[in-house]
Structures are given as C-alpha cells and as structure tokens.
C-alpha cells in the first residue's frame, strides 16, 4: 500500500491520455459484462425448482416439425408420467416485431393441472378465462409494460399461423392477469400471453390436429431419463419419432436454434479485447518510454529491478482493474435495461465475476513488456539519455 500514492500519481501523469485509455477499458468491460450476462443466462437457463421434474417431447428431427395430437394419450399412459400438456409455437408480436410477446396457446385444464401451484391468479378472472373462447390470461408484467387493462381487445401478429381468412393477426380479449409463485421465475414468464388451444387450433388454416411439443411432469425427477426413454420408445420407428429431454435442456436447444450464442458473443468480445490490447499496450509502452529517466532515478535511489518491474505491473493492474470495475459496475447497473430487451431470460450478476480475471490477464499482457523493459533499464545509459 505504501507504493500506492506513487503508482496513482504516475498513472495520472498524462491525465487526458489516461482518461481516454480508461474510458476505452470501461466501455470494453461494459460490453463484456452485458454480453457475458446474456451468455451466462443462455448457458444456465433457470427452470426453477419446479422445473426439475418437467420433460419436453419434440419431434426427433426438428423442433419446427410437429407431432400428432393423438400422442398425448400414449404419453399420459407411460409409467412415471403424472401430467401432460401441449403447446405450439405461435411466433407472436404486438404491433411491431420489436414487441416480442410469448403468445402461447394452452389447453387450460392440462396446463394448469401440470403447473399446479406455479401461478397466482384471481379465481373469478380464471373462470372467465376458461369460459371465454378468445380470452387471454396475461402476465401482470406484460400488462404493465403495454398499459393493457382487463377488458381490452388486443391484436397479436403471428409470424407463422394464418387464420382461415388468411390473416396473420389474431384478436383476443384480455380477461385476467396472473403472476408466478416463484419470484426467480418472474422474468421467464414476463412476456407470456396465454390463450385457448382450441381457439388456436380451430382458427388456424393449416396444421390442425398437430402440436408443437408436449410437456410432461414426472413423479420422480431422478427417473426423468428413464421416463424420457420410455416415451421415445413408444414412437420409435413411427412417422413422428420423438425426442424427450429435461425442460432445461430443451430451453438450451431452443436458444441454439438462433445459432451458437456463446460463439457469437465471444467472437464480439474477442474483437473488442484484441483492439483493447493494442490500445492499452501501446499506451503503457509510450508511458514507460516517456518515464525512462524517472525510472532510472528510482533505481538510483535503491529501487531494485524487481521493484521497478512491480511498479509498472501494478500501474497496469490499477489501470485495467479500475476500468474493469467501472465497466462491470456500469453493466451491473444496466441489467434492468438488458432484462427489458431479453424478457424471459434470467440475468445473473455472477456472470460478471470472470471480468475481474480478464482484467488481471489484460493487465499482465499489456503491462509485462514495458515492465520488463523498465526492469532491464541500465541506470547510467538511461540517465545519459541513451535509451
């Protein structure tokens, strides 16, 4: 700590240069924090404690291929399965594509039976929902986001499903709201808009009688693999072979439909940090080059080669560490904004922690060459201006 005032003063020797370098590090780590948080969220999908015994059955060959509705009875009969429900991907948005809404056609009885206790809602509103053919039960956060009220009629645009009249716009009456019981699941459900599967199936112009995927609850989560195998065995060698997996794995596989998110995010970060290496490395080299007489004086006063190496490395660590701290703090502060853009994805500050490791690595890479140069400095030559 006794060297801190010296290192700090040295860091701010050229204020403008330090500020610009620091800003570039802050921005790089802000980006790092934001992208790593998203990557972490995709790599660790939160299915909550209630998700441990949930399975998903999809078409073996692609999630975009459907399954016949008749499979439901056979799945229900598999030992270990306690509840079954089904869905189809609606691909919906409200008014414009940036307003993604997870519009989900559900079979009310089987869905709420399978998710018993997972949701909180008003019983009267729920009964109204049950009795209203084009009714929708909407997540409270989504209601708030769009300023909807119960009794509002809203149109949802599907990117896939045309109605019999050829329109992609589906009309709903909001009859109630709901929330989730488990607060950790709140973001996952934040954009969900539930409506009747019957209304959907009767209204669509194609695909009638098919479902996108099944969801099952198993009695014993430890038996998930065995139950999955039994379900898939039922449909082996049929026209609709299935692939059953834990809900968590399904979420991952679904996200991967978008491409390898991790690769894309890390490629962006790689480019950013590669540029940052040159920028910060050049700044550090220039800074040390300008201070060669001062470093020689320190050595003259009795600072050893190791002391001088340590001082330059500490300066790089302070610069990168400070930039990383500010950048990661800014990205932590930005989590609510990222959440708005990524509804349904649970963001964790844990994803920011590797940033400090990256900062140390960055400091070592950019600090080591000038530090070694300072260490090797010959006092007599440096004082005589021969370096």
């Amino acid at each position: 700590m006794k060297y801190f005032p010296l290192i700090w003063a040295t860091l701010w020797r050229k204020k403008t240069r330090t500020i610009f370098t620091l800003l570039s590090i802050v921005i790089a780590f802000l980006l790092f924090g934001a992208l790593e948080t998203v990557d972490y969220a995709f790599a660790h999908p939160n299915t909550g404690t209630s998700g441990a015994n949930l399975l998903i059955t999809i078409n073996k060959y692609s999630i975009t291929l459907s399954l016949p509705f008749s499979d439901e009875q056979q799945i229900r009969s598999v030992p270990g399965v306690t509840a079954v429900t089904w869905f189809t991907w609606f691909g919906g948005y409200y008014q414009e594509p940036k307003n993604f809404v997870f519009v989900l056609p559900i079979d009310i009885d089987s869905y709420f039976s399978l998710h018993q206790g997972d949701f909180v809602y008003d019983e009267t509103q729920f009964q109204t929902f049950r009795n209203t053919r084009d009714g929708a039960l909407v997540n409270a956060q989504l209601m708030k986001k769009h300023g909807w009220k119960i009794g509002d009629r809203v149109g949802m645009h599907s990117t896939i499903w045309t109605q019999k009249n050829g329109s992609l716009d589906w009309n709903f009456l909001i009859v109630g709201t709901y929330d989730v019981s488990d607060p950790t699941q709140r973001n996952q459900q934040a954009s969900t808009f539930l409506f009747h599967y019957e209304y959907f199936d009767e209204g669509r112009s194609f695909g009638k009688g098919n479902v996108g995927w099944y969801q099952e609850r198993v009695a014993d989560a430890s038996q998930s693999a065995a139950v999955s195998a039994r379900i898939d065995a039922l449909f082996a060698n049929s026209s609709y072979e299935t692939k059953t997996q834990p809900a968590k794995d399904f979420a991952l596989a679904f996200i991967k439909q978008l491409g390898d998110i991790g690769f894309i995010l890390h490629a962006i970060l790689g480019a950013v940090f590669f540029t940052l290496l040159f920028l910060t490395g050049n700044t550090m080299m220039q800074s040390v080059r300008e201070r060669i007489p001062e470093l020689a004086v320190l050595k003259t006063l009795g600072f050893t080669d190791g002391d001088v190496l340590g001082l330059v490395l500490a300066e790089a660590l302070l610069l990168c560490g400070l930039g990383a701290l500010l950048g990661l703090a800014a990205s932590y502060g930005a989590l609510p904004i990222i959440r708005l853009g990524l509804q349904g994805v649970e963001l964790s500050p844990l994803a920011l922690l590797p940033g400090f490791g990256v900062a140390i690595l960055l400091a070592l890479i950019v600090g080591l060459p000038p530090a070694l140069r300072a260490k090797r400095l010959n006092i007599v030559d440096a004082l005589a201006g021969k370096h």
């Binding site: 010296l6 001062e294 004086v297 003259t300 006063l301 009795g302 600072f303 050893t304 080669d305």
Partner: protein, 227 residues
C-alpha cells in the same frame, strides 16, 4: 587517524559500443576520507561522471577494486547493489531529476519507501529534510511550481532524507544561476561542515570547486593533480 570511506584501487572502466572500445578510466587509485568534501574537476570526457557512477554504485568497473563504506562494490550483484545504494548513497543530479507528478514532500519521501518506516514517520522525516535545506514552506508544491534553486534543494533533501553515508553530486549547480548556485553550494558546505556528510561533487565550475575541501583534477581517465 582518518578513515577512508571511499577506496579505489587500480580501477579500469572500458565501454564497448558496437566494435569500438573506449577506455574511460585507466588504473585509477584514490582514497577519500570520511567527512571530506571533494570536488572532481576536468574537461568533458575525462571520466569524472564515470568515476562518480562507480563510487555511487551505479556502475561496475571493468577491473579493479572499489570499497565504499566498507563494502566491496565490484563484488555485489545488481539487487545487493540497489539495496546498498538505498542505505549508503544520496544522489544529486544537475537537472534535479524530481518526479514531476509528485509534490516536493512526496519526492523527498521516495527513498524512505524502501525502509520500514510508517507513513507518518516518512512524512515527518521528509519535512525535517525539507526544513534542513530551508524549503519546508514549499513541501506541497510540485517541481514545476519551484524555481531551479528550490528544485535542487528538494533534490538535496531527497538525497539526505535516509541519512546516507555519502552524497554524490553530479554538476549540482550546472543548471542554476550564480545566486542559486552559491546558495546550493553553501548548503552542501554546511552539510559537510556541520553534519559531517562526506560529499563528492563533479563540477566544471572552478568557483563551485572552491567550496570543497579538496579538488581532484581528472584528464583522460586518470587523476592529473590534486589541489
């Protein structure tokens, strides 16, 4: 009987630049007693600064023996030599060589960072050294806010603060006007006379050399005469 604090025996120093060899010091032998104020004079290239660097432990001879404050410097490794310098030598340069981003007080504290003194003790010692050289009122000022004479006083305070065995001064008045130069020289004389500091000073200036108790003249790498 006086005690030799600096003892050089048959010192040779050869610099090699590419394929060229330059013999700067050739078989130099010299003793400096404790408490002496010695002025090293001579034309440019005569080897004064090289000799000073060897005595100060900044450089090593090509051959010969150097003993300073009881330590054979030619036998020390780089790390040990650094620690020895921190303990025994205070340096004063022509161009002050203060850290521009640090206040006068922080500059003076620098050698004390290598000791086990607390922050409060370092500060107290630095202020005491600045008081000794008569510039305590400028303790919070940065070098750019000081005159040349004041900056050199800060440099002398920095050289003194760890109570070294000897001060080595390389043209300490070279960048100063006559008045400031005389003030600095009087200060060095006081440190030698009243505090018993051994001082070795390289200078081109005969007037500066007059402040020393002994003058050594160098020419072509050897001691030409003593005054």
């Amino acid at each position: 009987m006086s005690e030799a604090i600096v003892s050089l025996h048959n010192i040779r120093k050869r610099y090699t630049r590419g394929k060229q060899h330059v013999d700067v010091l050739e078989g130099l032998t010299l003793d400096i007693q404790k408490g002496e104020f010695v002025a090293l004079m001579g034309p440019s290239g005569s080897g004064k600064t090289t000799l000073l660097n060897l005595i100060g432990g900044l450089d090593k001879p090509t051959s010969g023996e150097i003993t300073v404050a009881g330590q054979r410097l030619d036998q020390l490794g780089s790390g040990a030599l650094s620690r020895w310098r921190a303990r025994h030598v205070g340096f004063v340069f022509q161009s002050y060589n203060l850290m521009p981003m640090l206040s006068a007080q922080r500059n003076v504290e620098l050698p004390l960072l290598l000791t086990h003194l607390s922050a409060a003790q370092r500060k107290a010692n630095a202020l005491a050294a600045l008081t000794l050289v008569g510039i305590a009122d400028r303790a919070k000022h940065k070098p750019s806010e000081l005159s040349g004479g004041q900056a050199q006083r800060v440099a002398i305070a920095r050289a003194l603060v760890a109570d070294p065995t000897l001060l080595v001064c390389d043209e300490p008045t070279g960048d100063l006007d006559r008045k400031s130069a005389d003030e600095v020289l009087h200060l060095l004389q006081t440190l030698n006379r009243d505090y018993g500091k051994t001082i070795i000073m390289v200078t081109h200036d005969p007037k500066a050399a007059e402040f020393a108790g002994r003058q050594l003249h160098m020419d072509k790498g050897a001691l030409a005469e003593s005054g």
